[in-house]
Symmetry: C2
Subunit: 107 residues, 2 copies
């Protein structure tokens, strides 16, 4: 039934970015990495909850295409309100933190 496509996009993205060794522009990618991480987390939580995109969509009160969009690593439009809705639907809560900017510098 399902496709063997895990969170392929997110992974692929993280890989290509991290391995690329583009260390000088890491900061620029930080933003995109956060998006990819969120996408992956949503995917993870959804599948672990045994839900299809359709199923989660119903719980959240939106459409499958909207869920799909959220699980796209390239999606840059995450809002806190949506994350909260997702979390609630999966019996989780969202926590936001401001941590010191990681500057691994020369790895």
């Amino acid at each position: 039934m399902a496709q063997k496509k895990f969170h392929s996009k997110a992974s692929k993205f993280l890989y290509s970015r991290y391995i690329a060794g583009d260390s000088k522009r890491e900061e620029e990618y930080d933003e995109e990495i956060i998006n990819a991480e969120i996408a992956r987390k949503i995917y993870e939580l959804r599948t672990k909850a045994g839900l299809t995109q359709q199923g989660l969509a119903e719980r959240v009160g939106t459409s499958k295409s909207a869920i799909c969009r959220l699980e796209d690593a390239d999606y840059d439009g995450h809002s806190l309100s949506m994350l909260k809705r997702i979390a609630e639907a999966l019996d989780k809560r969202v926590v936001i933190r401001f941590l010191p900017a990681k500057r691994p510098r020369t790895a």
Copy 2:
């Protein structure tokens, strides 16, 4: 120069909510509490960085009134993109987590 109004709103909000003993509807407030927390954190980070709303606004690339809005505990429109901009301006990074819904139940 400044006003002696700390993060009064955030505090007031958290107080009134927590102390109210409205324990049966805590979940409903969870959402609002997150907003209040974000507002407080932004205020905290900004002042600790020795910046005025105007100063932070310039770094972020927006107006003082926009910053003021973000520090309002009742503001419900936080977007991840804005939080990332704020974080970047303050040399921080945003971390999002989905934690198990806290159900302190009968405290």
